[in-house]
Symmetry: C2
Subunit: 317 residues, 2 copies
């Protein structure tokens, strides 16, 4: 079960959205053996024309291998799990009889429920990556990078003696490919801090189709974000994660300041007529609130409105 | 000060939006002496081509008189006050030295704060009309009527011996012009019931640009409306208006059922890049909540989001 970070290791990117294409693309560009698992149309296009990486630091088309056939995962050493949180369960069910036991999974997903969900389905070691990158797909094969691009990785579940070696190898793999990748001793807290930002920003940016910078110009919205944050911290504490209000506001402000022109993935999904991850963002806080008997009216309000807008999309399709 | 409902009485419609044009248009169509006070462009167009009333029961262009000069109000007998709630204070300040003391004002506005605001500025008798009509303006001179069109009128402030005669004369005026107009013994409660529907529907319809019928297809939205309603009823009770939850839900459901395809005036304002009345709808509930020390998180959430969308409009203008 020890994962070998060799140059001939087989890396699979499971879910070729903007996050998968950014980090998988960085590895492919550094000549690692990367295969993108994507829907047939995107897989075909990536094989035909490559992945255009329109990044802040460079602009290159990287030749990549892609497939829409999950059976290719049978020789996987490392799987970057970058499907939407909504698809985690279904995807894990589909790959559980294909993945070799040696395969290590690194979840690059939003939310805090993915690893628990996946662990219930596959026995492979699964590590968490907290992802900070602003990126989006343009068409099938262009990944536009707007900012940042680093990873925090760690074991968010039960610790295992092999963790340290595996995490160091993953970190070296990314660092050697131009991706800052630190091992975080408190990855669960880091995940919740990222999750906080998602809960604070994604729904509101989606409802208003508005950038993080613009959101913070509206005083009533700043107040709303603070109320959402207060509820979030109460739930986080019940989940064993202690974040102070000032740490939380600092995390929100840092994102607002470094991603001024960014709109959330929720906003991007709604604009494209796609299902959002809202059930696993504010919807998950609402769900935990019900489980603990704690009121979460602000999270509930933005959650309800995103669901309403989502339902309109489905009706209009 | 007794208002005379004579055929030669001078009626002014102060604010020629959809509501003013529907009810003023019905009076003009019945050959009453009606003058619409509008912005210069609309006043000119109404004088030139008349008011096209595209109604459920008929489709006619009614010749009307319009002006953008407030000084014409100096001979007013009856003023239908149909400016936006946001403009009540400013408008009353502008007309206070023009309006003759004989003029009776009937407020056809949304919200529950207009009459108090106006009473502080002018000494004229002011009555409340609770308006149920689905209508919108198309261009400068076409009023499109989608449904209903009745009035409940009464004195929401301190009772006066002359009330009954005046209200009966106003009622006869409208009834004789094809507008059902009942005198409501509990007009304040009726105003709050209409206000409830505005607080339940306007913001959400505006945020989603969604019709009342579609809103009610989203279970999370139905739940959100119920939570907004609960907060509203707590505030209403503190304001001396007792409405039960089942009465409130029945009022909401009646509107959803009879105005399926209607979007709120807030949605119409946002779509047109105009300021909304949200400060006097959910914003007023939030304000009263603060005054009474009662939490109103659901109202606060939808209020904040409408303000945010509104601020985007201003930025993009």
């Amino acid at each position: 079960m020890i994962y070998k970070a060799q140059n001939h290791q087989k890396i699979y990117v499971l879910g070729a959205g903007a996050v998968g294409c950014y980090f998988g693309g960085m590895l492919a560009r550094a000549h690692h053996d990367v295969t993108f698992i994507a829907r047939p149309e995107r897989a075909r296009a990536l094989n035909d024309v490559g992945l255009e990486m329109d990044c802040i630091g460079f602009h290159e088309t990287v030749q990549v291998r892609a497939s829409s056939d999950l059976s290719v995962l049978s020789d996987a050493d490392l799987v970057l799990l970058s499907v939407k949180s909504l698809d985690t369960e279904r995807t894990m069910e589909q790959v559980k009889s294909i993945l070799p036991s040696k395969a290590v999974i690194l979840s690059l997903q939003n939310g805090v429920a993915n690893i628990d969900m996946a662990t219930k389905i596959v026995a492979n070691p699964i590590y968490a990556a907290v992802v900070y990158v602003a990126a989006g797909m343009i068409g099938q094969t262009t990944m536009k990078h707007h900012g940042r691009g680093e990873l925090l990785i760690g074991n968010s579940a039960q610790a295992d003696p092999s963790d340290e070696q595996i995490l160091q190898e993953i970190s070296r793999l990314f660092e050697g490919s131009g991706v800052p990748c630190s091992i975080a001793p408190q990855i669960k807290r880091d995940m919740w801090l990222k999750f906080l930002v998602n809960c604070s920003f994604n729904a509101i940016s989606g409802i208003g189709q508005i950038s993080y910078g613009e959101m913070f110009k509206s005083p009533s919205t700043v107040q709303l974000i603070e109320e959402i944050t207060k509820e979030f911290l109460a739930i986080a504490a019940l989940e064993g994660v202690n974040i102070t209000m000032s740490d939380a506001l600092a995390a929100n402000n840092a994102i607002a300041a470094t991603m001024v022109t960014q709109v959330s993935s929720t906003a991007q999904d709604l604009a494209r007529g796609k299902m959002t991850e809202i059930d696993l963002l504010n919807g998950y806080i609402v769900e935990l609130g019900k489980r603990y008997g704690v009121a979460t009216p602000y999270n509930e309000s933005v959650y309800a409105l995103v669901k309403m807008i989502e339902s309109q999309i489905k009706l209009s399709q």
